[in-house]
Structures are given as C-alpha cells and as structure tokens.
C-alpha cells in the first residue's frame, strides 16, 4: 500500500460532478503513478547531521591538540573565516531601504549569520585565553549588540537583529529566548525584574514605532516577540508578588501596565493579522484580569467566597473561549470580506 493513498476516489468524484474532463483525469492519474518519491528533506537532514557531527568531532580534536597547534593559528583561522563571510555578504548586499530589501542571494544571508556567530566565538576565545577585555564584562557583552543591531539594519536581516537584541539583553543581565524567559531569569529579584520590564518595554516601543512609522516594519515582529515576552513575564511575576505581599496599589499599577502593553499587542495583531500575538495578548491580559477577579471575589462575604470563585472563574474562561471563537471577525473587522464560509452558515 503506497503511502499517499491513491487519488482515484477523488478523481472519480470530480468526474461524476462534471468538474474534470476524462482525459485530464487520466493525465492526473498517470502523473501520480509515475511521480518519483522525493528524498529531498531526508537527504538534507542527513547532510546537516553529518556536518554537525563532523564540526563537533573536529572541534573536540582541535581542543585536544591545542598545544601542538597554538592559539594564534586558531584565532587567525576564525578571524579569516569571519572576514571572508562579511566580505561575501557585503558584496551581495542590496541597497538600503526602509522597507523589505529584495533578497539578492541566499548564500549571503547564511554567510552573514555565520560571520556574526564567528564574531561571538572569536570574542569569547580572546577573552578566555588572553583576558582581552579584562574585567570589563559590560564591554564584552555590549560589543556584539553594538555591532549586530546596525548590521541588521544595514543588511536587512532579522536573524542578526535577534542576535543583537539577545546580546543587548545579556548586557543588561537577562535572557530573552522565548522558551527560556521564565526559567532562566531570576524574576523574583527586584533589580532583574525592573531591568526586564524596562528593556522589554523599550523593545516593544521600538517595535510599535517601526510598525507605525514603517521604519523596517518587518522588524517589529522580532522586537515584539522578544520584548513582549520579557516585559509581560516580568510584569506577571510582579503581579504574583503584589498578590502575596498584599500591595493593592502596586498590583493595580502592574495590571494597568500589562493591559496597556496587551492593548498595543492587540493593535499590532489586528494590523498585521497575526494570530500569534493575539493569543499572546489574550493570555497575558487574562492573567491580569484574573488578578482583578481575585480582588473582586475577596470583597464578597466569607460564606459565599468559594461559591463565587467557582462561578466566576469558569465564566471568565468561557469568555476567553468566546473571544477566540469570534476572533476572525475581530481580526478582519466587521466590514472586511470574511473567509469562505462562516461557521454558522446554512448548509447549501
């Protein structure tokens, strides 16, 4: 039994409805029979695995024989490779515009990324071996950010921008990778949380600005993805803290801030029709709303508190579900032509 099930059933149905002339159906069936089995992605994956293994193994071998090779040689090799990458990328660069620059070469894209990675490796190497930056760690982490962010604009490369923003965050002492935001950052410390809210808010504002003024509007996605997670996660932690320490003013202020940022994300989601940011905004806004709900429930007399809690919270979740169900209308606006068929359309 071949893996893609035979198309005869579909072809027969199409023919019986008069949507497909018989000779065309025969041609499609013949094409399906003779179509070769594509191994493109499997072979690419094996190639990738092979180069990764090779690079890793060679790296370990070089490390083991470092005394016979010498640090100067390795640094020279890395620097040469990096210079070659940057030169190639610069020669294939499209002229600068504030919109999306046309892609001139796929290779140049990857080589630019590789050059940036090599810069990080080189910096780490000279710092580890020769203490190049001494104890000025701030300078060591700020340097990549200072190099990468302008490069990203100059080359119109979102990957390099993400690397630059990551470096910027580590200069402040934070991790911005979306999945590591909660686990890697010590949000319970006031200092770190303040930095996270500040940097995240700044990144989000930059994102909103680029989208609004169309200054590299496609960069807004990266700014908002990294910034929103950072700022909103830190704000959520601060909200939990305010709830535990019973500081209603701090709590309400945080809720207002979160709601403001979520409203910004909602604006961006509607403007670019991005489901991802819509879900993100809804999730964090729901979290903030739950804080308000808890405060509300606590105002009730003691004997009906539990009852109210069990009544109000399912209701709030139901409201969110309803919001998601009507999201299509919300995203596209009431006047816009909506998708093929709305869910409640009468059956023809």
């Amino acid at each position: 039994m071949p893996s893609p099930p035979p198309s005869t059933r579909y072809l027969a149905d199409l023919q019986s409805r008069g949507l497909l002339p018989p000779d065309q159906a025969t041609r499609i069936a013949a094409s399906e029979r003779t179509q070769p089995f594509s191994l493109h992605y499997e072979l690419r994956a094996l190639l990738y695995l092979g180069t990764t293994l090779l690079a890793g193994g060679l790296g370990v071998l070089v490390y083991q024989h470092i005394n016979t090779i010498g640090h100067g040689v390795i640094i020279a090799v890395i620097a040469t490779l990096m210079a070659a990458c940057f030169t190639y990328a610069a020669r294939h660069r499209a002229p600068f515009i504030w919109g999306v620059a046309p892609k001139t070469s796929v290779g140049a894209d990857y080589l630019l990324l590789l050059g940036c990675l090599l810069l990080v490796v080189l910096e780490g190497y000279v710092q580890y071996q020769y203490q190049f930056f001494g104890n000025r760690y701030g300078l060591a982490t700020a340097l990549p950010a200072l190099v990468f962010v302008p490069l990203a604009y100059w080359f119109d490369h979102r990957g390099v921008l993400a690397m630059g923003l990551t470096a910027l965050a580590s200069w402040v002492g934070l991790t911005v990778a979306p999945l590591a935001v909660f686990t890697e950052n010590a949000f319970w410390s006031d200092h770190i949380r303040g930095a996270a809210i500040g940097l995240g808010g700044l990144l989000m504002l930059t994102g909103f600005y680029s989208e609004y003024r169309e200054r590299k509007a496609h960069f807004a996605f990266t700014y908002l993805l990294l910034g929103s997670n950072l700022a909103l996660a830190a704000l959520a932690t601060s909200l939990v803290r305010a709830a535990f320490h019973e500081q209603p003013l701090v709590g309400l202020g945080t809720v207002a801030l979160m709601m403001g940022l979520c409203a910004g994300l909602y604006w961006y989601a509607r403007r670019t029709q991005s489901y991802w940011f819509l879900v993100l905004a809804a999730g964090y806004a729901y979290f903030a709303a739950c804080y308000l709900l808890v405060q509300l429930v606590l105002l009730f007399p003691d004997d009906i508190i539990v009852l109210m809690a069990f009544l109000l919270f399912p209701l709030s979740a139901l409201l969110v579900v309803l919001f998601f169900l009507n999201v299509k209308k919300i995203l596209h606006g009431p006047a816009a032509p909506v998708a093929p068929l709305p869910p409640t359309a009468p059956q023809p």
Binding site: L14, P36, T52, V120, A180, W276, P343
Partner: protein, 398 residues
Amino acid sequence: MNRQAYNPNWAFHTALRARAARWQRQQLLDAAQLKAIEAAYPLEYYRPAWPLRVGLFLFAILGISMASGFIFLIGHELPIASGIISCAACFAMLELLIKDRRFYHCGADNALLYVGLAAAGSLILYIFGTYFWSGYYASFRVTDGHLLVPLTLILALLAAAVLRYADALVTATAFAALLLLVSITALQIPWGQALLPFLIMVTAAGGLFLYRRLARRVAGTPLADYYASCLLMLKVLALAVFYLGGNYLVVREGNAELHSLSVSEQVPFAPLFYLFTAGIPFLYITLGLRRADRPLLLLGLLTLAFSIFTLRHYRSLLPPEIAAVAAGALLTVLAGALLRALRPTRFGLTSLPDDEPRHFNLENLIQAQTAHAPDAPATGGFEFGGGQSGGGGATGQF
C-alpha cells in the same frame, strides 16, 4: 444517529481540496478549475489556524476543569453522581457544539472529549477501587492483576470514542491501554515474563494487521479521510512498538527493571534480539523506499539511530570524537553523493523537493536538537504574521 460524530464529508472535502491545490501547483489543473472545485466542495466546519486552536484548547481545559470543580463542590457527598454528571455534561456539550457550531477538531471539542473520557475512566477505576478491591491501595502496582477488568472496560470505551470522534490522541491512548493489558496478562503467568518482549511484538504486529484490515475496509469511502489520522497513528505506533519490543537495550533494561536489579545482566534469547535490533531498521528503510512510504522510511532512520545508540551503549568501538568525525564524514559524503545522483530521477527516487506539505520535518527536528549556540529565535520559518489565512482553516498556510 450516525456512528460518526462529525460529518465524514468534511474530511473528504478537506482532503480533496488539498489534492486539487497540489494538482494546480503541478499545473495539472488551471486556476479556474480549482476555483470551481473549491466552490463545489465547501469547507462547512469551524477550524481556525493552529495558534488559535492551542488557545482554544487551553482555555477550554481551564474552563471545564473549573466547572467540574464547581460540580464536585456542590455534590462532594455523592462523588459517583458528580462524576457521572461531569462526564455526561462534557459529552452533551461536545455533541451540541459539533451539531450546532460545526466544531471540527478545533481545540475546544478536543478538550471536551479528553476531559469526558478522563472522567469516565476515573469513574470506572473509582468504582472498582471502592466496591471491588477495597484495601489494595497500600500495595498497589501498575502490574496488578486486578486492573485487568477495569482496563478492558476503559479500552472498550476508548475504542468506541475513536470510532465516533476519530481523534489521533485517543487512538494512541487506546493502543497504550492495549499494550498495558497484554503486559499485565503476561506478568500473571509463570513464563510470561520471559515471553513479554515477544508478546509485545505480537501485539504490535496485530496492530499492523488491524491497520491493514481497517484501511482496506474504509478504502474508497469518505471514511478513509475521516479516519486518516487515526490509521496513521495506529500504523506509526505499531511499527515503533514492534521495533522497541525487539530492541536489545529496551529488553535488557526492562528486564532489569522488572527484577529490580541495579545493574542489568544478559537476557535469554540474546542473539535473537541482536538480530531484531540490527535487522528491523533496514527492513523499515528498504520497505519505505520500495513502497514510497514516508512514515515507514522516517521510522527506519530513527530506529537505525536508536540501534546505533544501543550498540554504543554496550560496546564502545571508537573514542567519541573519532567516531563523530568518521560518521560525520561518511554521512556528509553519502548524503551529498545521493543528492547529486538522484537528480532528476533514479529508481523512482528523486532528491528534488516535491511540494507536499511536511507535517513531520526531520531536518527541523535535528536542527532543534543540535543547535544550542546563541539563541536566534526569529530567523525565519517562524512567521505567524503572514495574514493570508482569513480563517477557514485547512488551507495549511496562515
């Protein structure tokens, strides 16, 4: 009442439209014909883009669990009645939403189905725990023979749910329940423990046989599309379990686990398991290539990797860095040569991309596993913001 909860034509229309779109990309159809086909086969159900499905699922789970908490709060003196009410409410709601709002695997209905089944399963276990084997809690083990009857009931329930709702996750759970049932039965009889790997393999083979029977049975009807994901799940799981049941590492470490040994020791019939461990991946890869069966081929590659891991777990042939360099060089040369040799076509194989959408991307998996250098999350392939979906779902791009 129909046996299928959703309209089987929904699945049929979706699959047909996907085919037609592919034919159009291959220029076997012109754009006007595709338009006519899409008008003749409308998508009449509700299924949004996947970030929304995830959101719907999470919030539905949240809402349902809080609502059932409410029910248990009121009826905490009658736990069985509360359980029955929760379970019945879930299924009633599910049927209603499918009928009225035409939900089709859109997150909220999945959540209702899972919570309803979980409630029914816990109810069965609770009833048996309270009225039939009271006093067994202290020495309870998963391998306990008392579980046989309730587990059989749960399996029947899951099978019925698969038939009605065609959910892939429920299929996987049902298969797991079947394996657990076989294992428990085997552990009750004296020779069962030694025969357990073979029984597992026989069960997996039975799963494959069932897959073939069912696939033939539904072939040629819209039900083939309706149950496509369930059948694929059954096939992949049966193939994977068939391999794992015969894998030397799994058998040896599982044996040590059953006997509570701190260090695993040689198992009986070892040469047979060497043969399975080495042979099955090549069988899968060969069959996958000959039958143009991608799931089988991918499983073959993954099982081959696990077999190599098994070998290196017990025998270290080369120092790791030398082995990595050698294997890397071999793989690079081999993959590079094949990429070149299979262009455009040889032996019915090609190294050029086809335009089938990929649901399981091996390359991304390997990249995600191996890349832990500086995190650069937004380098592409991550753009949900494209904004050309307009809902409707099932078009595969958003």
